[in-house]
Amino acid sequence: MAVQQLPDTLINQIAAGEVVERPASVVKELVENAIDAGAKRVEIATAGGGKSLIRVSDDGSGMSPEDLALAVRRHCTSKLGGGLNDIRTLGFRGEALPSIGSVAKLKIVSREPGAESGYEVRVDGGAGGEPRPAPANPGTMVEVRDLFFATPARLKFMKGERAESGAITEVIRRMAIAFPHVRFVLSGPDRMTTEFSTAARPIDRISQVLGREFADNAIEIEAVREDVQLSGHVGVPTYNRANSLNQYAFVNGRPVQDKQIMSALRAAYSDRIPRGRFPVAVLMIELDPALVDVNVHPAKADVRFRDPGLVRGLIIGAIRQALEREGDRASTSGTTGMLSALRPQGAAPAYRPANVSYRPPANWSQEASPYRPQNTEVPFGFAEPVQPGFIDAEIPSARAEDIPPQTAAPQASHPLGAARAQVHENYIVSQTQDGLVIVDQHAAHERLVFEKLKGAMSGGRLPSQMLLLPEIVDLPEEDCDRLAEKAADFEQLGLGIERFGPGAIAVRETPALLGEVDVPSLVRDLADEIAEWGDAAGLRDRLESVASTMACHGSVRSGRLLKPEEMNALLRQMEATPGSGQCNHGRPTYITLSLADIERLFARR
């Protein structure tokens, strides 16, 4: 066949292959257009996961009939006035609307705010495109029906309705964070309605999207290096998640998924977050459009910085600095968190000799500074003045003299020995016949609970403790979907959950084995975990990892004072449990020091 110029429709369909990969990319393009048009309100409706219908309405500038005719034609844009070096809009390629029009049934109704009447244009699989008068509200309404009907090959590659509608939600969440002043409403028969009302400050919108909890656990960052400006909010290291879904980056307001930025984020937390856990972050980078190339891929989600090293350094530096500033309180849990909260800002957490006079926080003598601790794993009030509170902060670790004599003698039948003391609220020091054992109480207990759960699971439904007051856990809708879908499996494990409105899960029963647990954080970790697996995996195949997540929550936290009997009971249980020498993460649960080792240390041998 001879070389020939392709017809427009085919060209557009080829372009569509990249621009509109799936329904979520259509939504992204349309919402970008609405925002570029200065909209303050954007309403999105979908049906069938966006495959049967996507409708985006805005109250933006609208289009004249002439613009309308051009807008659906290839390479027509109103946005490249400053050339590719000065892109200040989300769109610039002029190919979204024609691409969509070539693979779906597209209808645009638009009216300029001052105009007498509105106009409508329709494109069906590339055909049509003549505007004619039509009733319309000021602004623009774009309707896309039967996406990919014109390219059946692509249609086959679409995921299930749920997955596609979830991806659309994700697009809107990103846009919502980037544009706090714009009101977004996402609705449709395939989903529950999500509304992000106009937010005064970026953090307010972030709370709407990521939940109040993130806001409570976030540190604000703000830094400038040369002409690049970084702002945003990053979670304290202890507020970490099991996947990287909650990491958001924006360049000049454009949501991007950029490997360099994510890698810098990871580096900033590298020694503060355990491996396999991910920080939660919202990073906004602003710089001269000439210093960044957004024209890397038609989907516009990749960027290339003129000076990547500068951006990386800026991100790492700003986050580290923020964590250092706040992180001392933030990253330590419970006890130590409380202790440092009692210190004035900036004071080193060093030991103070008893005779040095020391002033308590100034707010002490003022009116009511009420008690309100937060979750142990969470820092104590960031921006607020430090606040004293109740906590078992000063309990000593148990001492040898507390141990009843009958249990004190190490016996040959007890390889892990007799507990002598608990030090640093997490380590049990025990004396064996020929040395010392140091046990990490949290790791050890976690392992025991894990083994118990695993054992019990093979024997049918696990006993569950019913709750007097159901716990309502607020979660993003997709997480609720995922959890609710697996509710029956969880019930087998003793966790009784049910949907509670669009953005919450009610927990009515918890596995009795876990005792009193922090239900919200257990549920959130489970949601993260399921999100990691994707659609395919069944809970049954993942029992072990679920058991391990649950075990972690049901375990004696480090930092809890143990009674001598409890310490000895833990040692005895460890002796009776195969595999208890390693925690679920593969770290040792105890170490031994033989008398010979000790003598060697003291050069007696």
Binding site: Y358, A368, F390, E394, G460, P463, Q465, L467, L469
Partner: protein, 352 residues
């Protein structure tokens, strides 16, 4: 300051105030007591920044004040030979003399000693708060995340008070007459564990509670949180009432629990006319037991965490206890004919 005090009285006062002091402190001042003598009374102040204790003891001598290490002073007073003790502030040190012993302790500046601000209280009344709180304390939550459950919820209305504790798995409420009215407050666990016995004068505001006896004043901050609407979860129409003997019931539950080591060991109760059968299965082992019980209704099976059962029964006097159940899936109500104004709620454990 130069004062003489009866040794035994001083020791009592130091012990009473000293219970507030945490055993390890990063703020050295918090390991100290503030001694202040004024017109024949020595007041001893101790605080952990949340609770302030002021113990009073009669003394003779010159007024003055000083801040000294609480543990050292208590130790010295406990071991001193004489029946009287003299405390004297000389050049920034406190000289302690008793019999032929003499000690010199360093001091910290008294201005550094943290002092709770004066507060205005909304209600004042007298009651035996220790007795009212004792049978509910066991149900206080330990879960850091639900800080508002880490205390006893205390409120008074229409001549009745209620003290409530719950950890979400069980609940206990104790009620009684009171000559006051105040909106609910949450009294932190630590204070609940050091309530002075007998009748005390109490003052409450929305942020503070103050307990006053002749020898001791305890002022504590309250937990700032919203207590759940607990009345909702107390069952009122459980019509299957089984009456058991406390000792027999606890013993049987303990016996069958022997085979389980883990927490949350559930025991299954099969309630039938005239008896309750206990059963438990764990790790391939089983245990069964039976006790006599007064019951005439339909048979019903219900599982409980044996530890919860044990702890709840422990606060009740020996003799008969009534368990009101509906079915194996809804909360059970526990009452004792001997204890008016007390009720407990136990959430069942679902066992297969």
């Amino acid at each position: 300051m130069k004062i003489t005090i009866e040794r035994a009285a001083l020791q009592r006062a130091l012990t009473a105030a000293g219970r507030v002091i945490e055993s390890r402190n990063t703020l050295p001042i918090l390991a100290n007591v503030l001694l202040r003598s004024e017109t024949g009374t020595l007041s001893i102040h101790a605080t952990d920044l949340d609770i302030e204790a002021v113990a009073k003891v009669a003394c003779e001598g010159e007024d003055g004040s000083a801040c000294v290490d609480a543990k050292l002073l208590t130790g010295i007073v406990a071991k001193a030979g004489g029946s009287e003790i003299t405390l004297e502030l000389v050049n920034g040190s406190v000289i302690i003399k008793s019999g032929r012993s003499k000690f010199k302790l360093g001091t910290l500046p008294i201005e550094d000693f943290p002092q709770l601000s004066d507060a205005t209280f909304d209600a004042e009344f007298d009651m035996d708060i220790a007795a009212a709180f004792a049978p509910v304390r066991f149900a206080i939550s330990n879960e850091e995340a639900r800080y508002y459950l880490k205390g006893v919820f205390f409120h008074a209305k229409d001549g009745k008070f209620a003290a409530v504790a719950t950890d979400g798995h069980r609940l206990a409420e104790s009620t009684g007459e009171i000559d006051a009215e105040f909106a609910g407050v949450i009294v932190p666990r630590k204070l609940c564990e050091m309530l002075p016995a007998g009748n005390v004068s109490i003052a409450v505001s929305s942020t503070r509670i103050r307990l006053t006896t002749a020898a001791l004043v305890l002022t504590s901050k309250l937990i700032d949180g919203t207590y759940p609407d607990y009345i909702r979860v107390i069952p009122t129409s459980n019509d299957k009432i089984v009456t058991v003997d406390k000792a027999a019931m606890t013993a049987a539950a303990d016996r069958v629990s022997t085979i389980a080591t883990e927490r949350g060991a559930a025991v299954k109760l099969s309630i039938a006319p005239g008896q309750i059968a206990f059963s438990k299965a764990a790790d391939g082992n089983t245990a069964d037991d039976e006790i006599a019980a007064e019951y005439t209704g339909e048979p019903v099976d219900i599982g409980f965490n044996s530890k919860y059962l044990h702890e709840m029964f422990a606060v009740l006097p020996s003799g008969p206890i009534d368990i009101h159940v509906n079915d194996g899936m809804s909360p059970a109500l526990v009452t004792s004919p001997a204890v008016e104004g007390w009720r407990g709620v136990l959430m069942p454990v679902r066992v297969s």
